[in-house]
């Protein structure tokens, strides 16, 4: 495109999400840009990120997308949705146009709704966190937005696994954060030379920076700060025989289980099933309370009288990655492992 023949016509548009500009010549939203065709001109269409000049477009990379035309309009469909809070430049034939996509006033900025473990006191070998967001997150480079600070306010290095492919659940709202296992595992060089990530008696802060964006590319309004204190390490397997079961007193009551220690949110939920006396599964919903020490089961149907058995998956973990069957870092000569290898983990209760 030669600069000399360009007649620069600039429209400045700013619109709200979902309400595309619907003028006679130009319309746009996150998913398409539409221009009225001038049949006397060629159909050269390019879209660029940023508000740039004609000269600058010569060295800029155009946005990838598909161009669809009919007798009256040309529609550009970008390969991925355009971002909110970003400027764009359209060059259509001899015209240059700038527009931006503003946030609608009703837009709900990303927030963190829950964090597990929720307890403010954690063992020094705590292994992971689950961070629950209100809306699906931008998963790209997500771990770059998370920090752990010590009580002096210094950011600690090498605290968690910065894995390329973020561990996010299907709905895009639950992020798993692994504390650097090499430092939590006894005997390994990072553990021996750098020590475990957290020291007993000290206080820390887990910070999710507001730069972490949602799936629409919009940042949070504030940093999320979660303070906690560190206690001694936990080198014991969770023992279901120490858990207290509160049997439902009536056919409509919930089943309640009290663990003697906080449990790992991710590995517990969905890893317990209840069978009735006829070996049929009892369906319902589990939820955690009391800093993940209490589990409450609300059955879908009413309880019948009789005996029930609760089956626990062996992979249920405590906060330090110790599961029902083995410790996170197991002593190799531990004969105890052999004893428990084929053990089933079952508790019983009765409805009278």
């Amino acid at each position: 495109m030669k600069k000399s023949i360009i007649v620069v016509v600039v429209w400045l548009f700013s619109i709200h999400l979902g309400n595309s500009q619907t003028g006679t010549d130009f319309a746009f939203n996150r998913y398409s840009v539409t221009v009225k065709r001038n049949l006397n001109e060629s159909n050269t269409f390019n879209l660029y990120r940023g508000q740039i000049s004609v000269e600058e477009t010569e060295n800029a990379n155009a946005i990838l997308g598909e161009v669809i035309t009919n007798d009256t309009i040309l529609r550009f469909i970008p390969l991925v949705p355009l971002g909110l809070h970003q400027d764009y430049t359209v060059i259509y034939n001899n015209h240059i146009t700038h527009f931006s996509l503003d946030l609608p006033k009703s837009y709900e900025l990303q927030t963190i709704t829950d964090i597990y473990p929720s307890s403010k006191k954690l063992p020094s070998n705590v292994l992971k966190w689950y961070i629950k967001f209100a809306n699906p997150i931008n998963e790209t480079n997500v771990y770059n937005h998370i920090r752990i600070l010590n009580q002096d306010g210094d950011t600690l290095s090498r605290t968690f696994l910065n894995i390329e492919n973020a561990l996010v659940n299907t709905d895009g709202r639950l992020l798993t954060l692994w504390i650097e296992p090499g430092r939590q595992k006894r005997g390994l060089i990072p553990n021996q030379q750098l020590g475990s990530v957290f020291q007993p008696g000290k206080s820390y802060k887990l910070i999710v920076l507001k730069t972490l964006k949602d799936k629409q590319g919009v940042s949070m309004s504030n940093d999320f700060i979660h303070s906690f204190q560190i206690t001694e390490d936990d080198r014991k397997k969770p023992d279901i025989n120490l858990w207290e079961i509160v049997s439902p007193e009536t056919s409509t009551n919930d089943l309640i289980m009290h663990s003697n220690e906080p449990l790992d949110y991710g590995s517990v939920l969905g890893s317990i099933i209840i069978l009735d006396a006829d070996n049929k599964e009892v369906f319902g919903n589990w939820k955690f309370t009391n800093n993940e020490k209490t589990l409450i089961f609300k059955p879908t149907d009413i309880w019948s009288k009789g005996k029930y058995r609760i089956f626990f998956n062996t992979r249920i973990e405590d906060l330090a990655g110790n599961n029902l069957k083995q410790l996170f870092d197991n002593k190799i000569d531990d004969k105890d492992q052999l004893v428990h290898k084929n053990t089933e983990y079952i508790l019983e209760f009765n409805i009278h």
Binding site: L47, N61, A62, I63, L64, P78, L79, V80, P81, L82, G83, Q86, K128, P136, N138, T140, N141, R158, L161, N162, E164, N165, A166, L167, N169, T176, P181, G182, K185, R186, G187, L188, I189, P190, Q192, Q193, L194, K215, Q216, G217, G266, S267, L269, G270, S271, I273, E281, F311, N313, T314, R315, E317, G321, N323, Q326, F328, D329, N330, I332, E344
Partner: protein, 369 residues
């Protein structure tokens, strides 16, 4: 006349290609269509222009045939500001795009780069003339396999899959098998699988229990970060790097499902570091391992040293930051984020240079002479 000759030549070539494709037992069950890829976490090439894609979000592996992509000369490829180029092409900021993997087709040195965008879209690019071309995945010859949940093997775990996801960390093809390692979001457990290819209905998805022992004292059911199937002293083996530093060798014939698989630690590469990629490069008869790292330069290990190292590291390295075991040489490339072999040329890398420039560039096989 010229048109007729061209047409005849095209038909002949077309027949040859079709005949070849038909004769390929590996592509016999490939279908043309949309494999519905929702994420591209890892990629690796098999034989016959087959690109394997690990899609964690849809829990599937897709084999796609890229033989129709034109060959491009990448012997001197160099793209500066690669992250900005990708971001510009997607109309996004550099913090809204992430390069998830890079793979080089050993048949023709074509380069493929996978990218995730903040919206959740995955895009596959091919390098052409020092820029990027989008590879269409909507109508493509492919075959795919759903990955079953390894935890479901536990008879009592009939439910509990709604929260469980696992990110594929590495995937490699070797002699009719695809090997995968991954990390779960729920349990600290190794997910290492061997899957037969071509995919079939009676899929063998062997899940292997991989442990890591630290100096003979403690062991964990540890996830493997990166690995390479290769041969050590003439026998098939897997050389693996954990999320922490040790480099471990597993003889292939000894890794069996249902057993407690523990490799032989042959090197400690210095703490505060995680291996990112391992590749094998050859120069004439000499073989080398190249290892890219998070906090160490690119390392070169000579297979001669590796194969002559018969010991196992069982005592901790006491000197801080020091390494032990098989000797290696640091090459002058730091912050190498992606690494693959560039046949007859050397190796290809995506490197964050000290200036901040993210560059796609060639490493010469001069380093192996």
């Amino acid at each position: 006349m010229k048109t007729l000759v061209t047409l005849a030549l095209s038909l002949t070539l077309s027949f040859c290609i079709n005949a070849n494709e038909k004769n390929s037992s590996l592509k016999a069950n490939f279908e043309i269509g949309n494999p519905e890829i929702t994420s591209i976490n890892v990629m690796t090439f098999g034989p016959e222009n087959i690109l394997f894609i690990g899609d964690s979000k849809s829990a599937q592996i897709i084999a796609i045939d890229v033989s129709k992509d034109p060959k491009t000369d990448n012997s001197k490829v160099k793209i500066d500001l690669l992250d900005k180029l990708i971001a510009d092409m997607l109309g996004a900021g550099t913090d809204e795009v992430q390069i998830t993997d890079m793979a080089v087709n050993p048949e023709n040195n074509n380069i493929y780069i996978s990218v995730h965008h903040s919206s959740g879209n995955a895009v596959l690019f091919r390098v052409e003339n020092n820029t990027l071309k989008k590879v269409s995945l909507e109508t493509i010859s492919h075959s795919k396999l759903s990955l079953t949940d390894p935890v479901a093997i536990d008879a009592k775990d009939k439910r509990g899959r709604e929260l469980r996801k696992w990110a594929v960390a590495e995937m490699k093809y070797n002699s009719g098998k695809i090997f995968l390692s991954g990390l779960s979001n729920k349990e600290f457990a190794s997910t290492f699988r061997a899957i037969d290819f071509p995919f079939n209905n009676k899929q063998n998805q062997t899940s292997l229990e991989i442990y890591h022992a630290a100096h003979g004292q403690y062991e964990t059911h540890a996830p493997i970060k990166t690995f390479i199937p290769t041969t050590v002293k003439g026998s098939k083996a897997i050389i693996a790097g954990y999320t922490c530093t040790p480099l471990v060798v597993f003889p292939m014939d000894k890794i069996k499902p249902g057993t407690h698989n523990k490799g032989r630690t042959i090197a400690e590469l210095g703490n505060g570091n995680t291996p990112v990629d391992i590749i094998e490069v050859k120069n004439e008869d000499k073989r080398y391992l190249l290892i890219a790292n998070t906090n160490r330069p690119l390392m070169k290990l000579d297979f001669t040293d590796l194969e002559s190292y018969n010991e196992e590291l069982t005592t901790p390295v006491t000197k801080k930051g020091a390494s032990a075991g098989v000797a290696y040489v640091n090459l002058p490339y730091v912050n190498v984020q992606q690494l693959d072999t560039l046949k007859d040329i050397g190796f290809l890398m995506i490197q964050r240079e000290s200036s901040g420039n993210l560059a796609l560039k060639v490493g010469s096989n001069w380093w192996f002479k």
